[in-house]
Amino acid sequence: MTTASTGTMAPPGAPPAIPSPWTLPDKGKVGMLLLIVAESSFFAIFVIAYLFYVGKSLNGPFPADVLELPILGSICLLSSSVTIMLAIRALRAGNRSGFNLWWLATILLGLEFLIGTGMEWYGLIVRHGLWIDTNLFGTTFYSLVGFHAFHVTVGLLMLTVVLIFGLTRSLAPEHAERTEILSWYWHFVDTVWVVVFTVVYVVGR
């Protein structure tokens, strides 16, 4: 670099090339991922509260006496993650009726899960007299399972809106990306259920 000592600089020339086309991640996907991060943090607090209070109820009913494994509901909810994937694959391939069929199956499976939760709660409240103010078990159980069920409900509402679009033939393969973003939310709700199942029905019992 001898030119530097004389005080004159070489002309800079052209700046380094910028990758073209300039592509960044999709807004919807990043937004949904961040929503999932925030929601995970929300659920984590309820899970921690549940674990913290396991076995600390002063009076019954206790989990071991009244809780039964919700096997059918869990199978339904987890398999709905598969059917929603198949639905999106069908949409991508331009198979509209295949999409509608798998999407409807997803909704029905989610609905079956909710019905299972409803029946479980009915049994707990009516037969076992367990409510949110009964003891710490009731407090933590209904809030954690309830918030999960609330998320399933919100998911079902959104899935139903998409089904209406599908049935009115307004969905095309280019909408596959958007339905996939919605499916991420659904997968998240499923994943939370895996945690809830482990914490409430396995560890907490």
Partner: protein, 559 residues
């Protein structure tokens, strides 16, 4: 050859005249990030004046011993509302206001990723704040009259239980913060998405302005910590309205669990509040030192480290609770560890100023003031991280002095810097330098007069949140000086308000780039048109405007 259009074209906005109704309609229905940013900062300033008024009443009450200026229950309400307001209705909206206005301009975008959600977030925040303040009128208190919350800004259980907090005042605290918190979560998500997905061509992670880097880390931190507060507040509502037992000690619930949940939010929240201060320093110090920022990669690294470590320090608020020695040791060490990346930042700013041609314009004065007061704040912070020291001084005025040094000497100083620095961009007019300097010197003097003496009553055993004290404990003169300092601060503040109004009405025209700065927001008009840039800019370095002004010696040759 690249097909991208080079250079930055300056847009021409035609000024329009509209009726008052039209203007109001325009602002209420807007989804423009700049208007929302201005509304965030304006609402924050309004809440700041209210909280300042509350603080003034508190200091009048504490000026002399055995004072009966305020009844004790009013005193409780005032410190609760002052703290809650400053954290949730001043600090947070200031963060979102500046982030909203500047992020798209700095990354060369036309708006945020989800503009309507942005507007929704702002209105949630504003109405959450109004809901909190409505408690003064509508909060059904113990005597049926309106009352504001009186449980302190961290609302410890079991004080918030139905038995101890009758009426609705605590519910106003829960719901007001919950509503504005949902807005903040949405806006943080929105801003982070914008930074991930809408940077202009050439703006790689290593060319991102540090302001935006800090805002990204800050938004991610907000996302992770604010929903836990929402969750804990929901639990508290369930306790109060459905008879749940989360924090009900009589049914086996735990009051300490609330403290863990609250401070898991509450301490990272302090970093959420102070990161905008760091972000503002990163922009202003280089421009007024006429040098690029010293140690860009270390600044980014330190920021990310602070983000992570801040998630593991919360229980230093709980040393006096009686945690295990192992927990105390862990949280003491993590608290000391977080001082390291913070120290790196201080040295980087000093390194930037070192050898620079420093211009002490008003924004730079505030930033220099920040360096002094923030170092003091940091030092008392490290002192409080020492467990036995904290056992002695927890819940004393030493702690109050410490966090006011952080939030006034740290955050508020840089917020003033930011207002003086970006006011010309937002309004197209300069703020008055002479009034600005008066504001700085008088306010800084008042600040030191109030908060330096406040450390000592704490050391002498004065607990926080007492509404009065008896004479002759050695606290009298110190408290009187603190209260007199508030009067000085108020005088300083009035220079600021006068400056703001006067400059808005007849400030000198600013032009596009009054500070000869280097980031993209200065390349467009002042104020910028609704679409920000006529052409999406292309950048090649961290200082795109330097490259444009000095084509013979562009930055990208060195980066």
């Amino acid at each position: 050859m690249t097909v991208l259009e080079e250079g930055i074209v300056r847009p021409h906005a035609a000024p329009e005249r509209a009726s008052a109704w039209g203007v109001a309609h325009d602002w209420v229905t807007t989804v423009d990030h700049k208007k929302l940013g201005v509304m965030y900062v304006a609402s924050a300033l309004m809440f700041f004046l209210i909280a300042g008024f509350e603080a003034t009443l508190i200091r009048i009450q504490l000026a002399v011993p055995n004072n009966d200026f305020l009844p004790p229950d009013t005193f409780n309400r005032l410190f609760t509302m002052h703290g809650t307001t400053m954290v949730f209705l001043v600090g947070m909206p200031m963060f979102f206001g500046f982030a909203n206005y500047l992020t798209p301009l700095m990354i060369g975008a036309r708006d945020l990723a989800f503009p309507r959600m942005n507007a929704f977030g702002f209105w949630l925040f504003l109405f959450g704040g109004i809901l909190l303040y409505f408690s003064f009128l509508g909060g059904d208190g113990l005597y049926g009259a309106g009352t504001a919350p009186d449980v302190g800004w961290f609302a410890y259980a079991p004080l918030t239980g139905k038995a101890f907090s009758r009426g609705n005042s605590t519910d106003y605290w829960i719901l007001g913060i919950l509503v504005s918190g949902l807005g903040s979560t949405g806006t943080a998500l929105n801003l982070a998405t914008t930074i991930f997905t809408m940077r202009c061509p050439g703006m790689t992670w290593s060319k991102l302005p540090l302001f935006v880097w800090l805002m990204l880390v800050d938004c991610l931190l907000t996302l992770v910590i604010l929903t836990p507060l929402t969750a804990a507040q929901v639990m508290l509502l369930l306790d109060r309205y459905l008879g749940a037992h989360f924090f009900d000690t009589q049914a086996g619930g735990s009051a300490v669990l609330w403290q863990h949940f609250f401070w898991f939010f509450g301490h990272p929240e302090v970093y959420v509040l102070i990161m905008p201060a760091f972000a503002i320093m990163n922009e202003i110090v280089p421009v007024f030192s006429r040098k690029p920022l010293f140690g860009y990669p270390f600044m980014v690294g330190a920021t990310v480290l602070i983000g992570f470590i801040s998630l593991s320090v919360w229980a230093h608020h709980m040393f006096v609770v009686g945690l295990s020695p192992a927990a105390n040791t862990f949280f003491a060490l993590s608290t000391m560890a977080i001082a390291v990346p913070t120290g790196i930042k201080i040295f980087n700013w000093l390194g930037t100023m070192w050898g620079g041609k420093i211009r002490f314009a008003v924004p730079m004065l505030w930033c220099t003031g920040f360096l002094f007061s923030f170092v003091i704040a940091g030092l008392t912070g490290v002192m409080l991280a020492v467990v036995p020291w904290d056992w002695q001084l927890s819940d004393s005025y030493f702690v109050v002095a410490h966090f006011h040094f952080v939030l006034i000497g740290g955050l508020l100083f840089t917020l003033f810097a930011a207002i003086y620095y970006w006011f010309p961009k937002v309004s197209g007019k300069m703020m008055d330098e002479r009034l600005g300097k008066l504001h700085f010197w008088v306010f800084a003097a008042g600040f030191y007069l109030t908060f330096v003496p406040m450390h000592f009553p704490g050391l002498l055993g004065m607990p926080r949140r007492i509404y009065t004290y008896e004479a002759g404990r050695g606290w009298d003169e110190l408290n009187l000086i603190s209260s007199l300092g508030v009067a000085v601060q108020l005088i300083g503040l009035s220079f600021f308000l006068w400056n703001l109004v006067r400059s808005l009405l007849r400030g000198e025209p600013a032009g596009d780039d009054p500070w000869d700065a280097w980031t993209l927001e200065w390349s467009t008009t002042s104020p910028p048109p609704e679409y920000n840039f006529e052409q999406i800019p292309v950048v090649h370095s961290r200082r795109p405007l330097w490259d444009l002004k000095h084509p013979e010696d562009p930055d990208w040759r060195y980066e």
